[in-house]
Every structure is written in structure tokens, then in C-alpha cells.
Symmetry: C2
Subunit: 643 residues, 2 copies
């Protein structure tokens, strides 16, 4: 893929890069400015020592004297070379006559990836030598002067997309990896999409971009927050996981409509495809309900969606959490394909099978099934099942039940049915995981299940407000966070059966990935205090400022945050969020380029009144074990799997 | 000042808020979208439970049924109240008839600053009761329904701009302080200016907005960097003072034009009018020279400048560091007024005064003077000088010298001349400080020196590359940072007289404040290594990744960073940068609202392998002393002074 083809796609909304008489086709952005001066918008060569970019030259430039700056990508027989900048490639003819000996010397002796500036005329390629695959393929540059701006030493790898590198090598030399077409595309598209989001929020809907602090207070139960020692002995800042408290306080402060492209921090130790710092499109509004936020976000994504993709269709479909779980076995269903989970408990109400009887007798006990179309043929390894009910489960199922099942599941020949019996949530979750595994395996064998150009958005709503606490299921914890408002229909249950209360939380799911979540917040101080102290048994003093703020005329408000890294990963089709971040950390939280985190001289710790607690030998040994190759491989395999 | 007046100014470029037939007068932003639907851009009431904002209603809305949400600002005799939202104020008539008893009860019983939603008709005020000072002063709302959305408890202070509060109280209840007209204006203007900057950079000039990490490596000599402990024992991240290394690496990566509204961190302990985290408009370009960056920034400020101010005139004047020091005694001259420093050494070449002889004999010895117009009259306290040379210095100065001085200084009656003799830099700096003190005192006595509506930009260039190291003047340290390129004319001096080398650094000064600085960078690995290791004697291993990157085809590049907080402070005329930041820290680095930094349970320190080194009693005592009232007062006084 040539540079210019994606770049022109990327900027095609702004201008068609076809010469000086560019016609702007995007309605925005100073139309009269462009028309009056016939300048290209954006101007990629303003303020610098070149007249044009390498990728923009066409037949319409013929005869022009141009100055270009770029990297020597390729050279053949000292006759010509290919010069590259971030906008594309152009062919440059090395002069062979005596009088240009110094120019020839510079261009022939400079190692590949050296940086040069050349001046010369745009000329036609000789007939038959045009390259239709190359956007600049009709022309070449007849060089008059050349200057070596910087010579390049031997590289650790070639800057060519088809040269495969390990990710560790790419991260170690990130500044070289960034020269690849794919990374250039990913970062530029990210910048463009965020800019469009800002236009939508600021210019179209009057949102205010407010920067909130990242040196803040730890939140109750915020065990995943990085600490920052201060110069006061024993006192620390925390790096917040989101601007949640600030955005709510801004609403109390009457800001009405806030957004921020917010840097957030979460210390999750080693987790694949997560980053210790990440970015979210953070939004909060006063006097809004769930529908309002949803419409806002639908408009936002539609407006900012890349113009070379199919347009986003709005409104997005919506599904309750209960339905998502029952039908797809997850709270983030991939709705690009079927294979829905079906409740077949009724088929087995009178079963003789003790196993099924037991399952159905338990609280929330069910029997669930999922039909994998043509699964028997392509997935023989999976359950050793085939269309003739040749299955370990067959003996539990009498003829009548078989007929009924075939009817309910709409089973056809060569289909495979996966059955599970047990507690509703567990049974659904299991089938949900198998559903994705089956899809993966089927696709691996050539069955077309999910269109890679399809973007399937889905709202998931009506989550439970609380969940049983991990490790202590008799207590409650917030399903999302303690500021989420209860569902208006369930308010009365807060005092009688809080575990049944649904929330006003909503998740935005794209192709089976959660890309955003938000809620209508609690604006009543008393209710907030009751939930924090009585139901969640949290230390409310850490939040006394917020509780107090709610008492001083807090408007009803709600918001959402979109995970920008994940969104860009899906939009670009990148295998990992690391491919849409300029300088990502490895999955162990390390910067492989600069070797971070790093040791610090102990005198630099003194002003912060801290010292290192070195682990004892046995602790160190334990730590070491957790990073043996086998564990590393497991983590790596998990990364690969997720990609 | 009414809300709407500034809001309409703020958004006047976008639309005149005078009813449904709004005419957009700004060329940008989807012109046809607006014209086709006659929607207002931006739409401040999209997605929410109101039809209009309080501040936008005019006679053109007469007869319309509207729904408004806002805070009860004021109520009189249970007859009417004033409702406020972030867009302004509107008068609401409380219904008095029996059938509306419940509405009346809600509106009369809700405490001030409670949040309500009302619906009703826009009607004319009775003749003679219009309020021309109030943008909505021709109309009022006849309420039909009302809902109390949230009641307000007794406030710690009134939300009225004329009610003076201490800054500590304002910071403690920041969410209430944000409701003030001034804070709303400051934050909204900041958001708007940054948005315009983004449009200029992204949409007009093809810059790429790239987010760079804030969990990074400490820089050599970076003693002011916050540390973030990691889960690896003894290993730390640092919060960088700027994205300097990343922006340079992005250039090596071929990004060509980078910008970021970057969060930066600097731990300076307690310093007035500084913040531990701050924001800079961070820019870097490849293939650019000093002139290119300067033109870019001039265009940026011109484009983003608030439309209700005098337009920015470009290009900005430029002055060398040497000239700035000699003429204004500082590297950030306030060029809004004269009182320049004049070298009068030649007048005293043959002086008999031993004091002056001594001064002139020393290396760089000079005699300098500054003339304070009418200073003798208004500053009698200052040097007890008067126009008759009635001064302690008079005895040193013979008649001939007096005449010569009067000629050079263009002294007139009632002027005061300040003389100083000594080493050039010290003499200039002293007069530079006195110059500002004099201006302050003169203005305090009613002399008009500096027009508060005037914005005087100035480039200061040709700084020295190195300065004598603080504490060890025989060694060198970077005047700015070690990546700054030497002045092209001075390259040869690097190896013979490095202290004489000028740099390609440039500062942008506005009204005597440094609001930005940048440089052309070193792109040659060998030169960068020589400066780091040989001249600066820094540990270059901390920067090995950068040195290596320069060897792999780094393009020539340069950049700049604008201090956004300081710039907004000057644009809004705010007394402190804390007034243009939503949630600032106090000058001791504390968040007074949430009480941060704070203690952390020791078990939360364990995963990070750190423990607190509690100061010994004597250390604690010393610490305490440094915060005795007298020091506090000094710091406070310094703050007040700077304001």
C-alpha cells in the first residue's frame, strides 16, 4: 500500500490533493480563505524548507521547480532513488553529467534512511515507465541540487512494512517503527477523529473543554491507583483512574456541559492489552437523562467517523443487561453474528435425568443451548458431537425431547448443539465464551461469520446497581461506581432488596468490545451518603467534599466516557491498542525504548520522605517465579489470543 | 456585569443570540448545516430537558412556551425570582392565583441556589419595568409548572461576584466559586482559545495531535520531577516536565508536524503562582528554522485571539538577549513603556570618583542609568533624589558630566535619574528590577504607563547556549536544555570558548511575561553526545535512546511550547493563574477542597515496595520553622505582589 493512497483517503474530506487548483469539498474551515488564495488546506508545507511534500506531486505539477525533504527509501544502480516523507514516495533521477558530480556523490553515497533535501524540476516519466500503483507514478524529479541533512547509521531493521519484526524490537526502536505506513496512518487517523469529536462537542453543542487535575486523592477502594509521594512526610497524591469526581463537581459548579480528552491511570500490574496510562473521551452534562447522553454519543460517533468507512447508522440498538446475558452470555455481545443462547429448560421439566433434574431444582437453575450452524462438520474436535445426536449427552435426552429441541433450536443437518445445565448466569457465561470460541474456530476454517468492515454498535442498559462483593458475597459492591444513580423504577428497593436494584448505567459496545460506559449520577447528598456508608460500607470521609457539594444545589447530571485507545484499535483494525498509541508500555508496564521504570539514586528519594523496602530473599524468589518463561509465554499467548 | 453580555461576546463569532433566525457570521463550521435548519450553532440546549438557556431569551421569543433549568439567584416578596444558568439570568413571575398554589409553594420555599425546572410563556415586561442593563431585560417568564430538582443547604458564601471571599475559602468550595461570572468566563474562553489553536494547527496546517506518556524516565539533573513508584522493587517512573524527548523522537519517527496540549509536571515545592501540574501548547516540526517556528506561532496567536480584543498584529518585534538585558535589564522586557537603561560609562571615563573608577576598571564594568520621567515628583521616597541633583551621588558628578548626562538621558525637569555602577549584567538586572518597581509605583499614583488593553508581544533571541553552573561557576550548564542547537555562526566556538556560544533558543514574551520558549534542536548525534558528556558532564546513559535515535536518520527539527496557564491569565487579566484553572492547587501544592496530598494506609504502600522515612524530631522542627507565620506572610506578600 502506498503512503499517498491512505493519506489522500484520510484527508479526502479536506481537499483533493491534485495540484494547485485544489477544490475544497469539505464545507467547514474557512471556505473563503481557501477560495481567495487557492491555498491547499491543510497546508503541509507551510513554514518549512520545502515547497511540496513527496507524496503530493502529480502530472499537474509538471515543469514546476520543487524543493523536497525526506528519507532515502531505496536506490537503484546509482541511477535513481525513491524519496519518502510522511505523505508518500517520489522517484528522483540522480544526475549523471560531470557538472553535477557533487550532487551525484551526495545522493549515491548517503546510506538508506539518510535525510536529504533536493531541488529540481517535476518531469514526466518516460513513456511506458509510469507506475499506476504509485500515486506519484506519472512523474519524477530531475535533481539540480542536493544536500545531506543527516546521515543514517546501520538500522536494527528495515523500514519496510513487509519486513516482520517482533513487537519487542518495534517497541525498543519505536521512533523507527513510527515511520511505517501503518503507524503513520493510525496516529494521523486518531488525531483527525479526536479533532472531529472536539468540533462536534465544542463548536456544534457548546461543550466546554476543562482540564482536571491528575495529582489527586485516592478514591475509596481505589487499590489500583498509582501513588505520587509529596514533599510532606507520609503524604501522597494519587493518579486518578478517571476525572469522575471533578466532572461531577464541574456540574455542581454550573459548567453545564463538560468534556475532556482525559489522561487516566490504572495500575493493573501485568495485564495484556492494557496500559498503565490511557485516554478517554470524558463527558458530563447537567439536566440530562440516559436518552440524552445516548443521542449525544451517537451523533458524536457519526460525526467523527472516518469518511472512508461506511457511515455510522443511528440510533444504535439497545439491549438490557439481562437480555444480553441470556442471549449472548456476556454484557458486551458481539452482535455481528447469531448463535444466540436459547433457554430449553421447559423441554426438560419432566426429564428422568438426575443430572438435569438437579440443575433445574437449584435457584436460577436452567438448561441452555446454542446451535452452531454446520458446527458438526467443521468443529468435530469440539464436543465429539454430530448431527445424529452421537454425543455423551444423548443418553439424557429422550426422543420426544430431541424433536422438541430440534424445533426450538431450528437445528438442521450438520449443525451442532451445545447444551449446558446449571445456574442461569454461569450457564449463560459459559455458552457466551463458547460462542466466541466457535466463531473464532469457524472463521479459522473459512466460514464467513463477521464482516471485518462492519461496525456493530449496541447499547447495553439496565445493569444491576450492586454485585455481591468479590471474596465476601454477603456484602455488596458497586457494579460500576458508587456515584451511579438507581433506576427510577427501583428506588424503593434500595431499602428492602438493594441487590435487585437496577442502575441508570449504560455501556456502549462495538463488535463485542466495551468502548464506553456511563451513567446518570446521584445528585442527592442523602442518597449518596446512604449508598456509600450503609450499603457499601465505604469510608465516606474520603468523599466528604463531594457529598457536601451535592448539598449545595447540585443539578441532576450524567455522563459517559469512551475508551479512545480501544475505539481507535477497532476503527483501524489494529491487532493491539499498542498500535494506536505513539509510545506504549509493554504489557508489563515497561517502556522498552528508554528502560522505564528505572532505579533512582536514594538521595532523590529523600525530599519525598520515602525509602525502598527491598523484598526479602524469599519474597524476591517468589517474584522471580512469577516471571518464569512459562508464565511469560502464557501471558504472551493470551495477548496473541486477544489479538 | 451580566452573564449574557460576556457570553454573547465570547460566542459572537459563532452566532448572534438574538432569536431563532440567528445569522452565523463566522465563516467556519458547517455553514450550510446552519442555513438549512436555522439551528443555532452551538446548540446549548440539545439533548437536555430544557428548550432554552436562561440567558438567551429576548423579545423575539415573545409568546413561546419555554422550559428552563437553573439556580434561584434571587427572590423578591414571593412575587418574582431571578433564575440563573451558565448563560445568564432571566426574571420569572411567580403565579399568585389559587390554582397554581403548588407552583408558588415550590418557588417560594426553595432556598436560594436551589435547582429548579420551570415551564411557561415568554411575556413582555410591563412598560417602564424593562431593564436595559440585563440582556433578557425586555422579557420575563410567566410560570405554569415548576419542579424542585435539588434543594440547597446554607452556603458558606453568597454566589455573587461583589461578595469578597478569601482565596482559601474559594479554593475549599471551588465548585461554588466556579459559579461566578468571572470563573465561567475564564474557563469558557480558555476552552474556546484552545479549540481555535487546534483548528489552526490541525485543520489549517496539517499538524498531528499525538499523546505522549507521562509515566517516563527521569531526565539528567531533573531534580524537580515527581516520582511514581512501580511494582518492581526500587524502580520508579518520573512525571516529565515536558514531552521534550518524545516530541523529538516523533520527528525522528517521521511525524513531521506534532502538537499536543500537554500536561506537564514540576515539583517546585512551595512557589507562588506556580502549579505542580500545568499545561503547555507543545509543538515540534521537522525541516524548520527559527523564522518558521516564529511565523507559525504568530499565526497561531492571531488566529486564536479572542474576537472581542484588539487583533494581534504580526510579525512580532524581535530583540536579542544581549539587547534585552542592556536595554531592559531582563530577558523578558515589558515593552509597553519606555524607561530604557542607558550606558553612560563614557561620561565617566575620566572621572575622579574612585568608586566609579573601580567599577569601570573591573571586567565588564559599566555605569548605567535610567530616567524616570517625572519620577522626582512622584517618587520622592525612592532615592531622595530630585531634579537639582540633590542626591547622594551628586558629589561624584562634576558639572561637565552633568551636562553630558542631561543630554544623553534627555532629562527634563522633575525627572529622576537612577544611576548604577558595576558589572554589566548585575547593573542592568538591578535597573531592570527598579524599572518595574518604578512603573508600579507611578501607576499606583495615577500615572498612565501601561494600557491594560494593550498586548505587547516580543521575541527574545540569541540567548547564550550555556551559563556558569549555579554553585560551581567554573563548570557549564545549559541555559535552557541540553537539546538546544548552537547558533550556526558560533559552532566553531563550541570547542574553544563554549561560554561564548549563542543558541538557537527563542522566548516569546507578552507584557513582560515569558509565555513561551523553544529552539531548533541538535539533530547530530555526535554533537549531542559531545555537549552532554564533555561540556555538561551529564550522565548520557539516561539519554542513550535519544542519542541512538539521532543516529538513525533524524531530520533537522525545532519546536516551541507555550505556557497555556500564563497566557490565559494575561488574556483574561486574571490576578493569578489559579483563576484560569478549574481546580488549582494552593501555592503549597495542596488541593484545599479534598485535602490532598493525604496519608495512605501502609498496606497500600506495600505493592510499591516503599515505606515512609519519618523525619526525626529535629528535622521535623526545622520543617515546621520553614512554615512559620512570618515565612507564610512573606510568601503571601510575594503572591500579592505578583498579582
Amino acid at each position: 500500500m502506498y503512503f499517498s493512497s491512505w493519506l489522500s483517503q484520510l484527508y479526502r474530506g479536506l481537499s483533493r490533493p491534485i495540484g494547485r487548483t485544489t477544490q475544497p469539498i469539505w464545507v467547514s474551515l474557512s471556505r473563503n480563505l481557501v477560495l481567495s488564495s487557492q491555498r491547499k488546506i491543510p497546508e503541509f508545507s507551510s513554514f518549512v524548507a520545502r515547497t511540496n511534500t513527496c507524496g503530493e506531486l502529480r502530472s499537474s505539477h509538471l515543469g514546476q521547480e520543487v524543493t523536497l525533504c525526506g528519507w532515502i527509501q531505496y536506490r537503484r544502480k546509482n541511477m535513481f532513488l525513491v524519496l519518502r516523507d510522511c505523505h508518500g514516495l517520489v522517484q528522483v533521477i540522480i544526475p549523471q553529467d560531470e557538472s553535477a558530480a557533487s550532487v551525484k556523490k551526495i545522493l549515491c553515497e548517503a546510506p538508506l534512511e539518510s535525510v536529504v533535501r533536493i531541488s529540481g524540476a517535476v518531469i514526466s516519466r518516460p513513456p511506458g515507465q509510469e507506475n499506476p500503483k504509485m500515486p506519484t507514478g506519472e512523474i519524477e524529479i530531475k535533481v539540480k541540487t542536493a544536500e545531506l541533512l543527516n546521515s543514517c547509521k546501520k538500522l536494527p531493521f528495515e523500514i519496510k512494512d513487509f519486513v516482520k519484526k517482533t513487537e519487542a524490537l518495534r517497541l525498543q526502536y519505536r521512533y523507527l517503527d513510527l515511520r511505517s505506513v501503518q503507524m503513520q496512518y493510525n496516529l494521523r487517523l486518531r488525531s483527525q477523529m479526536v479533532m472531529k469529536m472536539r468540533e462536534y462537542l465544542c463548536n456544534l453543542h457548546g461543550f466546554v473543554d476543562v482540564e482536571t487535575p491528575t495529582l489527586f486523592k485516592r478514591t475509596p477502594g481505589g487499590a489500583r491507583e498509582f501513588l505520587v509521594p509529596s514533599r510532606e512526610p507520609g503524604k501522597f497524591y494519587s493518579l486518578p483512574q478517571s476525572p469522575q469526581q471533578f466532572k461531577q463537581l464541574l456540574m455542581v459548579g454550573g459548567l453545564d456541559r463538560y468534556f475532556q480528552v482525559a489522561r487516566c491511570y490504572r495500575d493493573e500490574g501485568s495485564r495484556p492489552d492494557r496500559q498503565p496510562e490511557f485516554t478517554q473521551i470524558d463527558i458530563e452534562m447537567s439536566f440530562v437523562d440516559q436518552t440524552g447522553i445516548q443521542s449525544l454519543i451517537e451523533g458524536l460517533l457519526q460525526y467523527s467517523w472516518p469518511s472512508d468507512r461506511d457511515p455510522v447508522v443511528i440510533p444504535f440498538p439497545s439491549m438490557t443487561f439481562a437480555e444480553a446475558l441470556a442471549t449472548y452470555g456476556t454484557d458486551k455481545p458481539d452482535t455481528r453474528f447469531g448463535m444466540k443462547i436459547i433457554d430449553i429448560s421447559d423441554v426438560f421439566r419432566n426429564t428422568k435425568s438426575e443430572f438435569l433434574q438437579d440443575a433445574l431444582r437449584k435457584p436460577q437453575g436452567t438448561v441452555k443451548a446454542m446451535c452452531v450452524r454446520e458446527g458438526a462438520e467443521v468443529l468435530p474436535v469440539f464436543l465429539k458431537a454430530n448431527s445424529n445426536w452421537n454425543s455423551p449427552a444423548a443418553k439424557f435426552i429422550v426422543e420426544e425431547q430431541r424433536l422438541e429441541l430440534t424445533r426450538i433450536m431450528e437445528t438442521r443437518e450438520e449443525d451442532m448443539v451445545l447444551l449446558t445445565a446449571g445456574e442461569h448466569k454461569k450457564a449463560c457465561s459459559l455458552l457466551g465464551k463458547l460462542r466466541l470460541e466457535c466463531a473464532h474456530l469457524l472463521e479459522g476454517r473459512g466460514v464467513v461469520l463477521r464482516d471485518p468492515t462492519c461496525f456493530s454498535f449496541l447499547w447495553v442498559v439496565d445493569f444491576p446497581l450492586f454485585l455481591p462483593k468479590e471474596g465476601n458475597p454477603r456484602e455488596l459492591e458497586s457494579a460500576h461506581h458508587p456515584f451511579t444513580a438507581p433506576h427510577p423504577s427501583d428506588g424503593h428497593l434500595l431499602y428492602t432488596a438493594p441487590e435487585k436494584v437496577r442502575s441508570q448505567h449504560y455501556d456502549l459496545v462495538l463488535n463485542g468490545n466495551e468502548i464506553g460506559g456511563g451513567s446518570i449520577r446521584i445528585h442527592d447528598a442523602e442518597l449518596q451518603g446512604y449508598i456509600l456508608s450503609t450499603l457499601l460500607k465505604e469510608d465516606a470521609t474520603l468523599l466528604s467534599h463531594l457529598l457536601q457539594a451535592l448539598d449545595y444545589g447540585a443539578p441532576p447530571h450524567g455522563g459517559i466516557a469512551l475508551g479512545l485507545d480501544r475505539l481507535m484499535c477497532l476503527v483501524t483494525g489494529a491487532p493491539s491498542i499498542r498500535d494506536v498509541i505513539a509510545f506504549p508500555k509493554s504489557f508489563q508496564g515497561r517502556d522498552l525504548m528508554s528502560n522505564v521504570p528505572d532505579s533512582v539514586p536514594s538521595e532523590e528519594l529523600k525530599p519525598y520522605h520515602i525509602q525502598v523496602s527491598w523484598p526479602t530473599d524469599s519474597e524476591a524468589e517468589k517474584r522471580k517465579e512469577s516471571f518464569t518463561p512459562s508464565r511469560k509465554l502464557r501471558v504472551l499467548s493470551s495477548v496473541l489470543h486477544q489479538c
